[in-house]
């Protein structure tokens, strides 16, 4: 269930278009708060606030480089989503295997009824 809680934090973080844009920017390489603030016409504290949510969800990490603290995408949050996709896919395959059985029975039922009438 931790899985679902982490995923929930991830989607909470991703629920905001500015945060999605920040993620898209970081997907192209690391950036500082100042560099992130520029294209969004936003104050640095506002960007920092968004980064805090993204860091809390494990999607973004920072490193120290002298005076700079560049941010980049974090593997942990991405891994959670990757696992989620694998789970989703395994879940879908399981559902469809069940549907195969349901369909087999659906096709049989009318045949049986017809057989009885004949």
């Amino acid at each position: 269930m931790q899985e679902l809680a982490q995923l929930d934090a991830v989607f909470l973080a991703m629920g905001d278009p500015t945060r999605r844009a920040i993620l898209a920017r970081l997907a192209r390489g690391e950036a500082t708060v100042g560099e992130l603030a520029e294209p969004f016409a936003m104050s640095q504290p506002a960007v920092s606030q968004h980064l805090k949510v993204l860091e809390g969800a494990g999607l973004v990490v920072s490193r120290v480089d002298g005076q700079r603290r560049p941010r980049r995408l974090a593997p942990a949050g991405i891994d959670a989503m990757e696992r989620w996709l694998a789970t989703l896919r395994a879940g879908m395959e399981k559902s469809y295997e069940r549907l195969d059985e349901v369909l087999a029975r659906m096709e049989e039922e009318p045949k049986r009824k017809k057989g009885r009438k004949a």
Binding site: A27, M81, R89, A90, Y96, M106
Partner: protein
């Protein structure tokens, strides 16, 4: 033969295909009759769908609630049907509540005759590239570049093992 295929298309799409050994009519019906949906749309073992409200017409809404038999919690999906073409196409929009709401996923599902069965093709459209990238962890920064390839390698292996 019946293997699930999942791939990306363009910036915002995910394509899922699956073959069924039944007619398009039957597969279509199995997606829209709530009593039937409740029997198969359950994902991994241990989950049930106590609520399956489904109004199968254009503009109709649906709500699916899942519960785990031992974990004592669940999640739900709500959505709307945009277009229904009997036996060949379902267009709908859905979002999950985990409880946090996930971005809307626009899904077009087609059912086509395929030999003596049906080929189902689902085309999902996510609101933007970042959402899909996050969903699939594709195209992320250097070092993450191999994620998707890894994912592609991992998933068939997992599915083969499940067979």
């Amino acid at each position: 033969m019946s293997r699930l295929m999942l791939k990306t298309e363009g910036d915002t799409h995910v394509i899922v295909t699956r073959h069924f050994a039944a007619s398009p009519e039957a597969v279509y019906r199995a997606h829209l009759d709530p009593k039937i949906v409740q029997r198969w749309l359950l994902g991994p073992d241990g989950w049930t769908m106590p609520v399956c409200d489904l109004d199968a017409r254009s503009g109709g809404k649906f709500r699916y609630e899942w519960k785990h038999e031992t974990k004592g919690h669940g999640f739900h999906i709500t959505g709307e049907f945009v277009e229904l073409t009997p036996h060949s196409k379902i267009v709908h929009i859905e979002r999950m509540f985990l409880p946090q709401q996930t971005p809307d996923n626009h899904i077009e599902t087609r059912f086509e005759p395929d030999g003596s069965g049906t080929l189902m093709t689902m085309r999902m459209t996510l609101p933007d590239e970042a959402t899909r990238a996050a969903m699939l962890s594709t195209g992320m920064e250097k070092g993450m570049e191999n994620s998707y390839e890894r994912l592609e390698r991992m998933i068939p292996a997992r599915m083969e093992a499940g067979k």
